[in-house]
Amino acid sequence: MNRKRYIGLGIGLVIGLIAMIVPAKWAEKESVSMDNKELSLSPQLISNLDKVQLIDKDKISPFTLCDWIIEGRRSYYLIDIRSEKEYQKDNIRSAINIPFMELAKSDYLYGLPKDKLIILYSDTEQSASVLWKVLKTLNYKVYILKGGYQDWQTIVLNPKAPAETSSDEDFNQYKTRASVAAFLKGESLDVDSTLPKRKAKAIIPLPIKKGKDQGC
């Protein structure tokens, strides 16, 4: 090997060593770190935090929440734990804003309604799932919004129009979803204008057998 190769190898190794020392944040599972001691929880409750595990059952799908909002249900309490700025920009109808850190450290923790379902949402599921653990430990009936606000935006607020050749069912489903999205966004919308023109299914005539089989 010539000298250039050795220099290349050396530089590669040095970069690798620096990368090893640099704290890479994605090794932490949650993007929001929270020191348990900062929580106004008793030591026993803090030790219980790791015993609760978030599973799929504890997540409310965007469509379910959407139905509840349209039905005007009042049995749940929807909390947006993103920053006030993000909440002001856009939020889910009926949600109140208690930013993550405020909710985590304050009297809110003990003052939430115990008789209602509490649904938390953040941008993704990550911060919501941290607070979910805390509230679950405090025996609240708590859920998180599946996929967070990002999924809400892509699935509920901006449903994808079906392809030209999709079935009637897909078209009807899209119509419903697009009207719901318009309702949630407070817009008036002519759903049909957003639909692609349907291609009529070709009717294939049955082949008429000729010859021997005819007349049987």
Binding site: M1, L13, G16, A19, V22, A24, K25, A27, S31
Partner: protein, 212 residues
């Protein structure tokens, strides 16, 4: 902060334009690197020319180190980058099929398009072949072994493989080995550097044989 598309809420159309530009650049440099030549590509399986191995491993290392530093300097939010969910069985089976296709056809799907750009006949046949494969897979995937559509809850053998070995939607090596991303990056870098030295040695040994 990157990824710009998500941080600034760019729509799909902008994404398509950016993808188009990056795609052209990617294809151009692959072609210039000799990746449109199936003989050169296939040579790696005979250990005579390991350019593909070196280029790909370099790209992996560059991207990996880039992610770590950009994240550290607050330029990039890794949590917003889309990762493919990991289905380990499907990945192994897919890898084997692709490897066989690569050694037989002399292309991988990406380089076959590069080859087609310079009007190589075999590249067009390769593209036709993989599109046909995609079509057949897509059409038969919902069916059971007997060729009849499956009822809800039933799974065919292929579907079992397809969805088996799910390691998570955002499975990463640091998480899997429960260590920091930096340590994994360092280990991969050392493997890569050792690989490069080994590759050069192999090229010298087997490459010369071909010439003599």
């Amino acid at each position: 902060m990157a990824p710009f598309a998500k941080t600034y809420g760019w729509n799909d159309e902008i994404g398509f334009v950016i993808a188009f530009v990056i795609g052209i650049a990617f294809g151009f440099f692959l072609e210039q690197g000799g990746f449109g030549n199936p003989r050169k590509l296939a040579m790696q399986f005979y250990l005579r020319d390991l350019t593909v191995f070196k280029v790909m491993f370099t790209a992996i290392c560059t991207a990996m180190i880039g992610l770590i530093f950009l994240q550290y300097f607050g330029v990039l939010n890794f949590d917003l980058i889309y990762l493919n969910p990991t289905y380990i069985y499907a990945a192994i089976v897919g890898g084997v099929i692709m490897g066989i296709g690569f050694v037989v056809g002399g292309y991988c799907p990406g380089t076959s398009l590069v080859g087609a750009a310079t009007l190589k006949t075999d590249a067009f046949f390769f593209i036709g072949g993989f599109l046909l494969g995609v079509f057949i897979f897509g059409e038969t995937f919902p069916l059971g072994e007997t060729g009849v559509a499956l009822a809800d809850g039933e799974k065919s053998f292929i579907q079992d493989i397809y969805t088996g070995g799910h390691l998570g939607d955002r499975a990463t090596l640091p998480e899997y080995f429960n260590t920091s991303a930096g340590i994994i990056a360092f280990i991969i870098l050392v493997i890569a550097l050792a690989g490069f030295v080994g590759a050069e040695w192999l090229e010298k040994r087997f490459g010369e044989k071909e010439n003599s």
